[in-house]
């Protein structure tokens, strides 16, 4: 037996993002729930979010984002031999999302699997993609984070409905001569599994806000620092910090503790809400579009969420 021949390193070739068309503002929510714009903005930092209607599934969202990333990469569907979809909100778990997304994009017979690491899912999937390229298991990988969270959120629960939204983001990962995706720092805290959970098939998503907030603002900046250390990058040299868009106050608290003084901090949540596994690639695709980050910049990604799970790595912006 012999080992496969992988690439010396892997990098992200392109990002793509997609949001459904329907905008839900804080005033829209205030019209039917006991809440208001000021309360929502001060607690979670969200001004508006996007919601997919019944005609648009998490698969549809993934196809849109994946297609954009593929087009931006300059590769064709024939070049992709592995598709990974990170999602925790798939409507029906069989069959998986990745095979369907690949088929819709004209990617023939790729390896295809889903990852459920909730809001950390994209960073887990990116690590798996990078490892696959380096080991020789795949040449080019399409990684998609796609979520239709609104189908698991109680429309009458003001504590969750203001936060969670729908969307998708994607990246194409391919071979490289120099490192474009740093080593991952990942882990989990199964002892806090109940902090974010859907109890059973009849239940909606429940979140213990204070528990999650305390964990996120105290346990995660060391993970982010570890990812920097493993990549040999000083946080002070980071050009961008793109944490999961959970809550603007969590984003700002982690950014403060990280010590990335010159980094632009992703605040995509303001107009996108919390889109779980989609939030990091969605934020990145929009930051690239707006010119907030440029090719060659170093960005630190940090995913965290239900599980509880977390994963972080440094990447070079394509």
């Amino acid at each position: 037996m012999r080992l496969g021949q992988g690439a010396p390193a892997a990098r992200v070739l392109a990002f793509g993002g997609y949001q459904p068309a329907q905008v839900v503002t804080n005033d829209d929510l205030a019209a039917r729930l006991d809440t208001n714009d000021e309360w929502i903005q001060s607690r979670v930092g969200i001004k508006e979010r996007r919601v997919a209607g019944p005609e648009e599934s998490e698969i549809d969202l993934a196809v849109q984002a994946g297609g954009k990333a593929l087009a931006a990469s300059g590769l064709s569907s024939d070049d992709i031999d592995l598709v990974i979809v990170a999602t925790c909100t798939i409507e029906a778990p069989i069959p998986n999302a990745a095979g369907r997304v690949a088929h819709r994009l004209g990617i023939t017979a790729p390896g295809a699997f889903d990852i459920n690491a909730a809001c950390a899912g994209f960073c887990y999937a990116l690590a798996a993609a990078s490892d696959a390229v380096r080991s020789g298991s795949a040449t080019n990988v399409l990684v998609v984070g796609s979520e239709k969270l609104t189908q698991w959120v109680d429309p009458g629960d003001r504590s969750t409905v203001v936060i969670f939204a729908d969307g998708a983001g994607a990246a194409v990962v391919g071979p490289s001569d120099r490192p474009g995706i740093g080593p991952v720092a990942w882990g989990s805290a199964g002892d806090k599994a109940e902090a974010i959970a859907i109890k059973d098939r009849q239940s909606f998503l429940h979140q213990e806000g204070q528990t999650v907030f305390r964990w996120a603002t105290t346990a995660l900046h060391p993970v982010a620092k570890l990812a920097c250390e493993r990549a040999g990058v000083d946080p002070a040299d980071l050009d961008a910090f793109v944490p999961h868009q959970a809550n603007l106050r969590i984003v700002e608290a982690i950014a403060r503790k990280l010590g990335a003084e010159k980094a632009v901090v992703a605040k995509d949540i303001v107009l996108a809400g919390n889109t779980s596994a989609a939030s990091i690639p969605l934020a990145l695709s929009r930051m690239i579009e707006r010119g907030e980050v440029r090719s060659g910049d170093l960005a630190l990604l940090l995913g965290f969420g239900a599980g509880l799970t977390y994963a972080s790595q440094v990447i070079e912006i394509p």
Binding site: S42, R43, E208, G209, Q210, T211, F213, R214, T217, T218, N247, R249, A253
Partner: protein
Amino acid sequence: MALTEQEILAGLGKIINEITGIPADEVTPEKSFVDDLDIDSLSMVEIAVAAQDEFGVEIPDDQLKHLKTVKDVISFIQA
């Protein structure tokens, strides 16, 4: 040696000022966090975490919701 009420109050005033911007001298024992100081549940978590660093006393979330006034927190830290 146990901290006095005045020492804890001074420390809490500084913490609350740093987290919420409320002047430290407005943080007095009889004040309610929600009704008088307009501090929300997430800021209370930040205050609890900072208080743990400052005083070495952990205030778990299930206890936090019972601590309505500044005096309640002082008593919890002293206990």
